[in-house]
Symmetry: C2
Subunit: 213 residues, 2 copies
C-alpha cells in the first residue's frame, strides 16, 4: 500500500492538492478572488458541491480582502472556526477574532430571552466599535438575527460569511440573508460548517494578488 | 421569508435535526452505537455520503465508548477538532485532549526529519503513558505514521478515528490503516475533516445507552 502513494514533500502538499482540485474543477467560469475561495472550500471538505453552492454578492471577496487588510475584526458563532482562522495573519493587519459563545452573560441572556446563544453573539458583535466581518459557520439563528440587525440599521458589516450547516431553517436563513444590501458570501443549501467558514476567511487572508476597485 | 421558517425552540433544534436526518436516512441497517456516529457526522456536514463512507472495525464504537468512560485521553492532529470536542464531558471521565501541532519542538523536529508536523504529533501521542484515542481529522501523513507506530508495537491505541480529508494520499492512507489490528473508525475516500473528527468523538461521548460486551 505504501508503494502506491505519491511522494510529495510536506511543504508541497497543499500546492499539490490545489493543483488536483483545479484540474478536476476544469473551467468553471470563476475568476479570482472567488476561485480561491471555492478551491479552499473544496480543499477543506473534499466536497465539489461547493463549486455550485457558493454565491457571492457583487465584489464581496474584494471588499472582504480590503476590510481584512484595513484591520477589520472577525466575529464568529463557532469556536471551531475561531480555531481554524489564521489569527497570526489576521493580526498582521491589526484584526482579531471574537467568539462570544462561551461568555456567561451570553448564556444567561439567551435563556432569559428564549434565543440561541449564537443569536446573542451577533448582538455582541454588532456592538464592536470598529469594522467587522461576521462569520457564521454553525447556527442559522445567528444569520437570521444578524439580518434583523442589518435591516434595523444597528450594524453595517464589512462582509458576512454565511455558511451555517444543518436541517432546521438553514436553507431559509441563507435565502433571507441574500436579500441584504451588504457584501455577503453564502453557501446555499444545507451545507456549510465551521471548516468551510474558516476556509473562506483564510482564502481571503491568503489572497496574494493586488485587489483593485 | 421569515414566515416560511419552522419554529423550533433553541433547546430542541438538535433533536429536530436528528429527527430529520433519521427520517431521510430511512432504514440503513446501522445499529447503535454506529448509527449515532453516522447521524452526527451527517449533522455536522449535511452530507449524507457519511452514511456510505463510514467504516467500523468490529465493536470499534463500543470499545471507544468504554475507553472514554475509563478516562482515556484524546490526541488529535488538528486544533479545530480539539476546539470541537466536548472537553467538559471528556473531563468528567478523567480524559483530556492533546494537540501538539503548535509545539515548537514539533515544528523543529518536523523540519529536521523532513516530515509533517502532524506525523510528529502522533509520535508525541504515542509517548503518553495512559490509554489514548487518536483522532486524525487533517493529515494522511499522521495516519500513515500512526500505522507504522502500531505495526512496530510502539503504541496500542484504544481506538483510532481516521478521517483525514483531501487529495494527496488520503484515500490510500485510510486503506492502509484499515489493515491494522486495533479498533478503528474510518471515513473511506477523500472526505473527512476536523468537523467530522469532532463529531465522531462527541457521538461516542454523548452515547447514553449502556454498552455491554
Amino acid at each position: 500500500m505504501l508503494d502506491k502513494m505519491e511522494f510529495v514533500k510536506p511543504g508541497d502538499i497543499e500546492a499539490r492538492s490545489m493543483e488536483i482540485i483545479t484540474g478536476e474543477l476544469g473551467d468553471t467560469g470563476w475568476k479570482e478572488p472567488e476561485l480561491s475561495v471555492v478551491r479552499r472550500c473544496i480543499h477543506t471538505s473534499a466536497d465539489f458541491d461547493y463549486n455550485i453552492n457558493l454565491k457571492f454578492s457583487k465584489d464581496a471577496c474584494k471588499k472582504g480582502i480590503m476590510a481584512l487588510r484595513n484591520g477589520a475584526d472577525i466575529v464568529t458563532d463557532t469556536r471551531m472556526a475561531m480555531a481554524g482562522i489564521n489569527k497570526r495573519r489576521l493580526a498582521e493587519h491589526g484584526g482579531q477574532v471574537h467568539c462570544f459563545i462561551d461568555d456567561e452573560t451570553v448564556l444567561r441572556e439567551a435563556k432569559e430571552r428564549g434565543m440561541t446563544r449564537s443569536a446573542i453573539c451577533m448582538e455582541r458583535g454588532a456592538a464592536i466599535k470598529k469594522p467587522v466581518i461576521f462569520v457564521i459557520g454553525n447556527a442559522p439563528t445567528a444569520l437570521i438575527r444578524l439580518y434583523e440587525l442589518v435591516q434595523n440599521g444597528e450594524v453595517k458589516p464589512e462582509l458576512v460569511i454565511g455558511v451555517p450547516v444543518g436541517f432546521v431553517n438553514v436553507v431559509e436563513s441563507k435565502e433571507l440573508f441574500m436579500q441584504a444590501d451588504i457584501p455577503w458570501i453564502i453557501a446555499v443549501g444545507r451545507k456549510g460548517g465551521s471548516n468551510v467558514a474558516a476556509a473562506i476567511c483564510n482564502a481571503l487572508l491568503y489572497y496574494k494578488d493586488e485587489v483593485e476597485f
